[in-house]
Point group: C2
Chain length 85, copies 2
């Protein structure tokens, strides 16, 4: 099973990387850009686990390893059994 986990700063936390990208885009003339937030994405391939296992394991992994729950939030979804291109 392939799972995608998105980790990003909570809305209340400053995002300097996103700000830098926003400034770069405005400088390049993309004046329609209003806000940019940058985060991390993890794609994890699990062997032989059920959907139920995933619902238990993935939030645990996200909170313990992938995200800092003080300043970051995460969202996740199952991508399916097949390997993504």
């Amino acid at each position: 099973m392939r799972v995608r986990i998105l980790v990003s700063f909570k809305e209340s936390v400053l995002d300097p990387q996103g700000q830098t990208v926003k400034n770069a885009l405005l400088t390049l003339g993309y004046s329609s850009v209003k806000d940019v937030r940058q985060g991390k994405v993890f794609e994890i391939e699990f062997d032989g686990i059920s959907d139920e296992d995933a619902r238990r394991i993935v939030p645990e992994i996200a909170n313990k390893v992938l995200a800092n729950p003080i300043i970051e939030k995460f969202a996740w979804e199952i991508l399916g059994e097949a390997k993504q291109v």
Copy 2:
């Protein structure tokens, strides 16, 4: 309009961050983890652009600023008009 862009290494490119996370998870006892790939996610809010504008602007931004097209690939989707929580 709010757009999400996922940037990750091409499959043929080594992903040391993903490998480190994979090793950490295996060390913690998550033996069902087979592979981990890490990438970046950008959420960009645009002001007053159409879907057609987005289809022109977003790939341009991704190739010029967000991703290094030599070693990275990107995928994107429109999240909608409303701000995500």
